[in-house]
Amino acid sequence: MLKFKEGFYADARVETVFTTSIKYRDGALEESKNTTVKKAFLRVFDGEMWYYASTYKLDDLQGELDKLYANATPNKDILKNETVKRFESNFAKVIKFDKNCVKDKTIAEKGKMLTDKFALLKSEHLKMFVAVYSDKYSEIEFYSSKGADIKYDFQLCGIRFMASFADGENNFTSSLSRSDNEISKIAVSDKEVKDFVSESEKFLYAKPVTAGEYPVILSPETAGVFAHESFGHKSEADFMIGDETMRKEWAIGKKVGSDILSIYDSGLEDGSGYRPYDDEGTKAKKTYLIKNGVLSGRLHSAATATDLGEAVTGNARAISCDFEPIVRMTSTIIEAGSLTKEKLFAGVKHGYFIKDYKHGSGMSTFTIAPNFAYEIVNGKIGDPVKIAVITGNVFETLNLIDGLSDKAEIISSAFGGCGKMEQFPLSVSFGGPYVRISKMSVQ
């Protein structure tokens, strides 16, 4: 048990992480391993500065904590500090994955989920494939000088088949993947693998597009990354610290998008963004960022909530015990609308459907690099097209959303994740319905 000193706020996060990684290339095993790593991250706050230590010395956490105290200056009023007042003192144990834990499956069972599909990864133009299984089971403990005592677990697993196709000068690389909290939910069917191969082959001969502005429909997966990149990052309140302009521009109640648009973030959703407590011990909450086109909230750590005079939201997160928590998203979702998928597409005479994506990014202009993208002609999905990126100004684009389908999907990923400054990858999920945007720049 750690001894916390008076005159400071302090907390300790201890994480035991079990991971499995299996990789085959063209059917040959290249990686197969389980690893367990246990580390801790310690924080001491004296009201002015934070002092952090990332350490593997779990048998001497007190010594490591005492070193941090030695750097800080005692503050008899530390408990009156507005940031410290916002820290929750939760006492909880939320163990959700012990009965279907990835640790209980053998590495051979996990590998078989890949090898069973190898016979299907064949075609005239399929030149190379890589099959990957990945899982992670974490047990997180959190203790603070305010009495927080939390233990919870998190689990994520996924499989991915990446294939490269070529025919002469034409080449195309794409992937089929599925991720979830439980192994039983990540299997892909034979038909899905066959469809993936045949769809990818068509993209060897995809048409180029003429750069310009077009109506675009985003799939739930792409709509999710759009929500994450275009608005989610701008809702992270650490970007507003000490910045009066940002506070005026981002005043709660301001109209920022079309009337049909609502976006929320929540650590309570199942999937890769699940996080019942954040890395400051704050309980997860559902936070509307946009409700019916109006700015409704933002994402906070205790420090940013203090700076803006708002409440904590459970969004202080770190990718591992190597880093301190900063403001991050969890699961960021566009809420469903009222149109059927067919009616949504019927509203586009000539445009593009972005089925999935390779990567996205967001500043004042956001970008999404599509993988599978199709032309839309008279409301119907047409030929495959080659698009390098779709881009738009965030605020203009949020106002150009003119249709949402009636069902939202949440997409998880065990591969990669969100990057912010030095911390990548963080497990997040995102999603939404099919989203129609009346005008986007297509290159």
Binding site: L29, S54, N171, D238, A303, D322, H359, M363, T365
Partner: protein
């Protein structure tokens, strides 16, 4: 049974800047030990964080042979070398004070802007040794900063950035460098008529070609450069290489498998000719290739290919490559390349460049061009980014199509 051991020790100090104020110090100490064993064409790997019993780790690695992962045993023989590039950049006890002084000065010099993000300083020691009488030791130190800068009048989450990674620190030069960006930031200029050369960070373009140079991808026939090994693919002046000999950056001279290249360099493209593939010991053995020195294994993973010290060779000085005006691209975000090599880059921030200086901020736009053209007929040269004194990334000068001017 052959074996190799890699020990990686490091200490780092990281200061966070938030809203123009230093608000935290993070201290990280790490020791990682990895043992790999090779027997009957298989590899077994075990890793440990922290101190511990190497014999137990060896036994663990031996047990991992049962995973049946094929891997060639091609250990470097009789290699002995030690490089110590450690410099006392800033005493650890003065690190916070030094960065506070820098930030206070930036706040004072550029009151219209808010500074945030990290400055990190660290030392590392990497020891590679194997059962074939090889021992390599590398010690290095560096300081890196990635300052995010925001115009106080803007509603963006960030507007500019300034980064450096070196083994020295010079407050005056950093303040001066940042001034070159900020002093003309509010001077908006129109996109000039006619075609101007584009000055852009080399990696903004090169990153898209890199994966197509990986041996497995090339041999599979799915590379953009399919069938072109040994052929001229780019301009005569274009050379692309991995360079571990750089003096002022902390890059070990050996890779994760103890591979060392002649003069610590390996060329993928030399004089425009596609002459080498990115390899590591597995792909080198499978495809009978020379080692590019790109074996990468951050902990207990089986090695895989990477591009440490990846760069283009400089062809001249920026002032000689660009006489007069050019478009200087500072930030691109979210670009990509289509399968036929067409690169599209949304430009978030660019300046008008005129005779060695940035003279005003351009509107947002996009650039695109085929990689074979940009590094071929439209290639002008590669230079150190002479706009700055302290930051020392390299820039590519080439013609691109400019589109979508806002």
């Amino acid at each position: 049974m052959e074996q190799e051991k890699i020990i990686n020790k490091g200490t780092s100090y990281s200061v966070n800047i938030s809203g123009g104020k230093v608000d935290s110090l993070r201290i990280t100490e790490d020791v990682k030990t990895v043992i790999r064993v090779y027997e009957d064409g298989k590899i077994g790997i075990a890793g440990r964080i922290g101190e511990g019993d190497d014999n137990a780790l060896l036994e663990e690695a031996k047990a991992k042979l049962a995973q049946n992962i094929s891997y060639p045993c091609n250990l470097t023989e009789n290699g002995k070398r030690e490089v110590n590039k450690v410099k006392k950049i800033i005493p650890a006890k003065d690190f916070v004070k030094t960065i506070k002084k820098l930030i206070a000065r930036l706040n004072k010099c550029y009151p219209d802007f808010v500074f945030s993000n990290k400055i990190n300083m660290g030392e590392e020691e990497i020891i590679y040794e194997n059962s074939k009488n090889t021992k390599y030791v590398y010690k290095g130190s560096d300081i890196g900063g990635g300052l995010v800068i925001k115009d106080k009048a803007s509603a963006n989450i960030m507007d500019l950035s300034y980064g450096f990674n070196k083994n020295s620190f010079n407050e005056d030069k950093i303040v001066s460098d940042i001034g070159k960006l900020l002093n003309v930031y509010h001077k908006k200029v129109d996109m000039p008529e006619g075609e101007l050369p584009i000055i852009i960070n080399c990696m903004d373009v090169l990153q898209y070609g890199a994966q197509h140079m990986i041996a497995e991808m090339y041999v599979s026939g799915s590379s953009l450069f399919n069938g072109k090994l040994g052929q001229k693919i780019f301009n005569d002046k274009v050379s692309v290489l991995t360079d571990r000999s750089v003096e002022d950056k902390s890059i070990p001279f050996f890779d994760a498998e103890g591979a060392v290249n002649k003069d610590d360099k390996f060329y993928f493209v030399k004089g425009g000719e596609f002459c080498g593939l990115a390899s590591y010991k597995r792909s080198a053995a499978n495809f009978n290739l020379p080692l590019s020195g790109g074996g990468y294994a951050p902990f207990d993973e089986v090695p895989q290919p990477s591009f440490v010290g990846f760069k283009m060779e400089r062809t001249g000085k920026l002032k000689d490559l660009v006489k007069g005006k050019a478009i200087y691209v500072l930030i691109t975000s979210g670009g990509d390349m289509t399968p036929d090599g067409s690169v599209g880059l949304p430009v978030q921030l660019a300046y008008l460049y005129d005779n060695g200086k940035l003279v005003g901020r351009l509107p947002e736009f996009g650039v695109n061009g085929n990689i074979f053209d940009v590094l071929g007929k439209d290639f002008i040269g590669v230079s150190r980014d002479e706009v700055f004194d302290f930051a020392d990334d390299d820039v590519l000068v080439a013609k691109f199509n400019v589109n979508n001017v806002k």
